[in-house]
């Protein structure tokens, strides 16, 4: 269980994390979503006691990280892929961590086996690909068999098989009753993995809800309509409080604010024929884009404006 209350971190005049409060509960995968530079990594480092908050606090299992008697036995973190000395072998990297906690040597080989690095355990970590380094980081997180796990962008650099493996692993860990907190800037990735979402933008909390309700509440449920008599139907729809966009000369437009059934009933009352009535399912990606539209730190259109 992770509990953050009013967590704030400033770098000079930039506020990286701004009064963030949330809980990460056991038994589910909590996705931590936000555009690049929105404060996800900083937040995770504060949970792990690496960055000191300027205000607010965060506890793990009811205690600040610094007060945990055996931190690696309670919290495991994959904070960045390269938190290791490139000249040290994977096995020695894990063994050095294990020794601080009196964890026996067989456990090191066990987690190496688990992440699929047993064959290269003696190789220097600097020779690892990004994907292998990610796996070593995951092995380090699992070393102490912790009840709370943090993964910062765990699928970075992994091949499709590796991505599938991480997804399955995260769900497995959550099903064992652990609190799994995983960050990503890819909504689609979270849609497949997370049960619950915490969305931030520019360091502020935007949403904290189950994945299903997140999609339902924030995406625009629109309906595409095609009719030979667009003028009359449009007027009637707008009078009924709907929004009509994307008018096309062939009589197609998009309606927001009414269900397909409402629109069909309305058309029947008016005696207007419908050639098409298609509900558009809002994707998680759309919902995310809509929510964070105002809080994206770096946007392409601001920077790239090429005059012909």
């Amino acid at each position: 269980m992770i509990e953050a209350r009013g967590l704030t971190k400033r770098y000079g005049s930039t506020v990286a994390v701004d009064g963030l409060s949330f809980d990460v509960c056991p038994g589910r995968v909590t996705g931590f979503l936000g555009p690049n530079g929105s404060g996800k990594s900083t937040t995770m480092r504060m949970v792990m006691g690496l960055d000191r908050p300027d205000a607010g606090k965060v506890t793990v299992n009811g205690r600040p990280y610094h007060d945990l008697p055996w931190p690696l036995r309670e919290v495991g973190g994959l904070l960045e892929s390269k938190a290791m000395h490139p000249g040290r072998s994977a096995r020695n990297h894990l063994w050095a961590m294990a020794q601080t906690h009196g964890i026996a040597r067989p456990r090191v080989d066990e987690v190496l086996e688990l992440v699929g690095l047993a064959a290269v355990a003696g190789r220097r970590a600097g020779k690892f690909s990004l994907g292998m380094a990610q796996r070593l980081g995951i092995a380090a997180a699992l070393l102490g068999d912790p009840a709370v796990l943090l993964f910062d962008e765990p699928v970075n650099g992994l091949d499709p098989e590796g991505i599938l493996w991480v997804r399955t692993l995260l769900k497995r860990l959550a099903s064992e009753g652990r609190s799994v907190f995983v960050s990503s800037h890819l909504m689609s990735e979270m849609a497949l993995t997370a049960d619950h979402l915490i969305v931030i933008g520019r360091g502020r909390l935007i949403a904290d809800e189950p994945v299903t309700s997140f999609v339902a509440s924030s995406s625009r449920h629109s309906v595409r309509v095609k009719t030979p008599d667009p003028e009359r139907l449009r007027r009637a729809l707008e009078e009924a409080g709907a929004r009509v966009d994307d008018d096309r000369p062939d009589g197609t437009f998009t309606v927001t604010g009414l269900t397909a059934a409402d629109i069909g009933d309305l058309a029947a009352e008016l005696g207007v024929a419908l050639h098409e009535l298609a509900p558009q399912a809002g994707s998680l990606e759309d919902a995310f884009m809509e929510l964070t539209r105002d809080s994206v730190e770096f946007r392409a259109e601001d920077a790239v404006e090429v005059q012909p």
Binding site: A83, M84, G87, R88, N92, M97, Q99, L114, G144, D145
Partner: protein, 280 residues
């Protein structure tokens, strides 16, 4: 097909909490599992013994043609220990790397995640590096002395351990190298960047003496006493002059050593404070 095996569960939490013993074990694994340790210790050994051999052999060969004054103040112990001059750089680099390599690679985050009480990390590094450095430095110091005296014998006067001040000079050479290495560790924990820390260390050790020696003696000599290099020279000499004190006179050996210990302690203390205050 992707097979995901569930991680096995560990036994319940042991009593107590993480501490110095685990930190020491971990640091020992870290120290001996990277090549830079082997290389810098090998460089220390080769430099101290090798340069000691060269200096002793050269002195023996040219003894008959030497100046009267050089013969009058001749210090065979100090000559055989000449190699500390280069050995201190190699050992200092290892001291810096012991901490700066962790900051440079990001490994420090894994270290601090395991041991959130950061001064404990620095203490474990200082104890472990200090012990390894002391063993290596004393062995090479005595080896350089015995080999050097063997090369000098027959051509020039030689020293034996039973003569006054000789044991102090030879053992003192090892102590000097060790504490200087700890000073380098302290600088590494303050500066945190390998290149910057090594530059600072070399500047303090070798460049500052050149600058101060360029001043008139009335200004340069009182300041020069406080330099690590000058302290090292007086620690490895059996006469007030030693073999290399041409430019700056020093404190008495143990006074200088006390001062050097204070430098190292101050640097490590400052390093510990910075370690706690600054995010890694």
């Amino acid at each position: 097909m992707t097979v995901v095996t569930a991680p096995a569960r560990l036994a319940s939490l042991p009593p107590g909490h993480y501490g110095l013993l685990g930190a020491l074990r971990s640091e020992w694994t870290k120290l001996r599992s990277v090549r830079s340790t082997v290389w810098s210790l090998a460089a220390t050994i080769v430099a101290v013994i090798g340069i000691g051999i060269l200096a002793s052999a050269a002195t023996a060969a040219r003894w008959r043609s030497g100046h009267f004054e050089d013969r009058l103040f001749f210090d065979p112990t100090s000559v055989s220990l000449t190699g500390y001059f280069v050995g201190q750089l190699a050992l200092g680099v290892l001291g810096v790397l012991t901490i700066s390599a962790e900051y440079g690679t990001g490994a420090i985050r894994s270290t601090f995640a395991a041991i959130p009480h950061r001064p404990l990390v620095l203490a474990a590094k200082a104890i472990l590096f200090g012990t390894v450095a002391l063993v290596v430095a004393e062995v090479v110091s005595f080896a350089a002395f015995f080999i050097g005296q063997a090369l000098l014998s027959g051509s020039a006067p030689t020293a034996t351990l039973s003569q006054p001040g000789v044991v102090r000079a030879v053992a003192g050479g090892g102590l000097y190298l060790t504490v200087l290495g700890l000073l380098a560790l302290g600088i590494g924990s303050i500066v945190r960047h390998t290149a910057g820390a090594i530059t600072t260390f070399v500047a303090l050790l070798l460049i500052l003496p050149l600058v101060i020696a360029a001043f008139p003696a009335s200004i340069g000599h009182p300041i020069g006493k406080y330099l690590p290099l000058v302290i090292g020279n007086s620690m490895t000499a059996t006469t007030p002059r030693g073999a290399h004190a041409d430019f700056l006179p020093g404190f008495a050996p143990w006074t200088g050593f006390g001062l050097l210990c204070a430098y190292a302690a101050a640097a490590l203390l400052a390093g510990a404070v910075i370690m706690v205050r600054r995010d890694p």
